[in-house]
């Protein structure tokens, strides 16, 4: 049985000593997302390490694939439901579900209720899953009550707040609070940070020129900061913006928040 939230609520700003909570294991089931699983597995590895340092018992169910968002957003609702159903199966139970994507978490929170509206039993399972699912930064700050995870990274970074995470899921300043506690990290503000980076899943495939124009503007704002690391909570956006910048000669590196928070620790 996992421990109630209040047990972990650290006083604002207090550093949670990893060892202090290892004995009270919070059970976390990792929703890796199809993109991180297949293309950015190192992000999953970092998440696991950060969560374990904070005393979580991390599990991974191989029976997961995708949340169905690509199909849902394209209007292929029955297909989306089919894919989403497999996720309901993979995350039955009462573990916290944590995911490195604000967009996928938003799919569960925002779209599953309408996707499963017609079947009461499925709707209940979907609501249970949504209720247990957090985006990574939200889980650390709002569930575990942690802001300082003891990371060190001597770099200059800029944070891109992804649209679905902020607008549909409600991620606020959690990532910034976590980043502000990383030793050595200089965080620079990003102009027009609220504007979409142009990724939008299939959008960037269907309207490549419009997407590229959007990405190009985002890239110019990122470049202007002089940062050498672009940090975010959604791999699609990171891949899109950093990929665009590197194609234009920039040396910028994209890092998921989990990778930043996993920095500066002796690896196992």
């Amino acid at each position: 049985m996992w421990i109630g939230l209040s047990t972990f609520a650290a006083p604002d700003g207090a550093r949670v000593e990893p060892n202090a909570i290892t004995t009270r294991a919070v059970r976390v089931s990792l929703f890796i997302t199809c993109l991180a699983d297949q293309v950015f597995p190192e992000v999953g590895v970092s998440m696991v390490r950060v969560l374990r340092r904070l005393g979580c018992e991390v599990r991974f169910n191989q029976q997961q694939s995708c949340c169905g968002q690509p199909h849902h957003n394209a209007g292929f609702t029955p297909e989306a439901r089919r894919v989403a159903r497999s996720l309901l199966d993979a995350f039955d139970g009462d573990d916290h579900v944590v995911t490195p994507s604000g967009s996928c978490a938003a799919m569960l929170h925002h779209s599953y209720p309408t996707l499963f509206a017609e079947d009461a039993e499925e709707l209940a399972r979907a609501q249970s899953l949504a209720g247990r699912t957090s985006e990574f930064s939200q889980f650390l700050v709002n569930v575990l009550g942690v802001e300082d995870v003891g990371a060190t990274l001597e770099r200059t970074a800029v944070y891109h707040p992804s649209c679905h995470g902020t607008r549909l899921l409600g991620v606020g300043n959690e990532p910034l609070r976590l980043l502000s506690r990383v030793r050595g990290l200089e965080l620079r503000p990003l102009a027009n940070s609220q504007d979409c980076c142009g990724f939008g899943g299939l959008f960037c495939v269907k309207l490549p020129a419009v997407s590229a124009a959007m990405t190009s503007e985002k890239a110019s704002h990122v470049s202007a900061t002089g940062a050498d690391v672009l940090v975010g909570t959604d791999l699609g956006c990171l891949m899109n913006v950093a990929g665009h910048m590197r194609a234009n000669g920039s040396k910028i590196e994209a890092m998921h928040l989990a990778q930043v928070l996993d920095s500066g620790h002796a690896q196992h």
Binding site: Q38, G44, F60, S65, S86, G200, K206, L207, A247
Partner: protein
């Protein structure tokens, strides 16, 4: 003007090549959205005001029949005439008939999106009546034989030089390029026409059921001239543009100008309740309000789309939309551009090609919903429209096949894991080897497009699910 036989992507590509347009659009929307941020902050507790606005609009639309009845009764009592138009053609017919019955030669117009929607100018011209736009931006657009590029700022795509050239051609004389000279020319020229006009045509921001009033929020004053000088005033009103009472107007009047430009109130808010009365020096002898359906009532009772009738046409969603920001209004090819247009246009004109393509003109970033002063879930509606478009027979068979195939793979985790292994292996040889596109990839347009503008790290050898057994052991040791 973009040719309508181009599809959205082609029109967008054209817009992207127009560097003046792109710079002007970005500058304008930045000004407007910064204005909105300041204006809503000045009000304080803007979220409560939004919620209040949403509640008023939802209540009004849910009781639209009752409030329309009440409005019509009260307007008639105040001496106004009410007309009902089922569609664009009927709305134009009514206006043309009123004008012809009065032997009108000239109609002066203030800004009305409904008049654009029903193509009133074209119908007036066909009937031999001049329809003159008098909002400065609308007049410029009319002189250029174009369509408005933004709901509240129609000519953001026109440079000062282009405007001067249009005015010089109109004047048959040379003019200086400064704003005061150009605006002064418009004042002088149009003032004379106002005094000659037989008919004034306006829009209506909100009708008020309780008093039978129509209201207009304007800045230039042409809306007042149109409703003061000609003997006959025709107001075009979308059937949903109504609120119950002055108390509701007080809320909407705080939301509309702030959301549109950041102003606390527009220069003029005119609450008109009937025509000129006995012994009044000026004002129209007749007031006609034309209530237009044109696809709106189809949304009533539809749980997915009824809320689109809550829209108050402030344009805030255009100003935050990252797609509009890059391409401006004309690429949408519809009367209403931007996110609201991408929803309104296919709903009002479901038979047209717009129905299928505009729904895709969004990255679903949700900025439109966030900016909307009455909280319309525009991004959800775009998904619902895509759902309609995805019905068998409406989308390309390739897309349907891809979607069905990928759903089959993704809904089976075992198949997904296998497919992932194969894909990662194959793609090194076929698509991208970590530093460059392969010969094959360069021949697949979609892949070439995507990878041509983005450099990706080399694909991993193993997926996370393949690494998990080691990670699991890590903690046990």
């Amino acid at each position: 003007m973009h040719s309508t036989d181009l599809d959205f992507a082609e029109r967008a590509d054209l817009a992207l090549e127009n560097q003046f347009l792109r710079k002007a659009v970005r500058f304008t929307v930045d000004r407007l959205r910064n204005g909105k941020a300041a204006g809503s902050a000045a009000l304080g507790d803007f979220e409560s005001w939004r919620e209040r606005g949403r509640a008023i609009r939802a209540h009004t639309i849910a009781n639209l029949d009752r409030y329309l009845e009440q409005f019509c009764d009260n307007l008639e009592r105040a001496g106004g005439h009410v007309h009902f138009a089922a569609d664009a053609a009927e709305a134009s017919e009514i206006c043309v008939r009123i004008a012809k019955d009065r032997q009108a030669k000239l109609a002066v117009k203030s800004k009305s999106m409904v008049s654009e929607e029903i193509e009133l100018n074209r119908h007036f011209e066909a009937a031999g009546i001049e329809a003159l736009e008098t909002d400065l931006g609308e007049w410029i657009v009319q002189l250029a034989h174009e369509a408005p590029a933004h709901i509240i700022l129609p000519c953001i795509h026109k440079s000062r030089g282009e405007i001067r050239a249009l005015f010089e051609r109109h004047a048959g004389a040379e003019l200086a390029e400064d704003t005061a000279t150009l605006a002064g020319y418009a004042r002088k020229t149009l003032r004379q026409r106002f005094l000659e006009a037989d008919i004034g045509i306006s829009g209506c921001n909100f009708a008020i059921a309780d008093t039978g009033s129509i209201t207009m929020f304007t800045n230039e004053g042409n809306g007042r001239l149109v409703t003061t000088l000609p003997r006959t005033h025709i107001a075009l009103m979308g059937m949903e543009r109504i609120v119950p009472s002055f108390a509701d107007l007080a809320v909407m009047a705080e939301l509309l100008p702030r959301s549109a430009t950041g102003q606390k109130l527009t220069t003029y808010l005119n609450v008109i309740s009937g025509p000129r009365r006995a012994n009044e020096a000026d004002g129209p002898d007749e007031l006609h309000v034309v209530i237009v359906d044109n696809g709106r009532s189809n949304q009533l009772g539809d749980p997915d789309f009824q809320a689109i009738l809550h829209c108050i046409r402030c344009g805030a969603c255009l100003n935050v939309c990252p797609v509009y920001r890059q391409i401006g209004g004309h690429a949408y090819g519809s009367v209403y551009p931007g996110p609201i247009g991408a929803v309104l246009s296919p709903l009002f004109q479901p038979e047209q090609e717009l129905a299928t393509e505009l729904a895709d003109a969004s990255s679903l970033c949700g900025a439109c919903h966030e900016a909307c002063p009455v909280k319309i879930p525009i991004h959800d509606m775009l998904v619902k429209l895509r759902e309609r478009n995805a019905r068998p027979g409406r989308k390309s068979r390739t897309e349907r096949l891809m979607m069905e195939l990928s759903a089959s793979v993704l809904s089976s985790p075992a198949a997904f894991a296998r497919a992932g292994r194969v894909a990662r292996l194959l793609q090194r040889w076929t698509i991208f080897d970590g530093s460059r596109m392969t010969f094959l990839a360069r021949r697949i347009p979609v892949v070439k497009n995507w990878l041509g503008t983005r450099r990706l790290p080399p694909p991993p050898k193993r997926a996370f699910r393949d690494l998990w057994p080691d990670l699991e052991r890590e903690v046990k040791s």
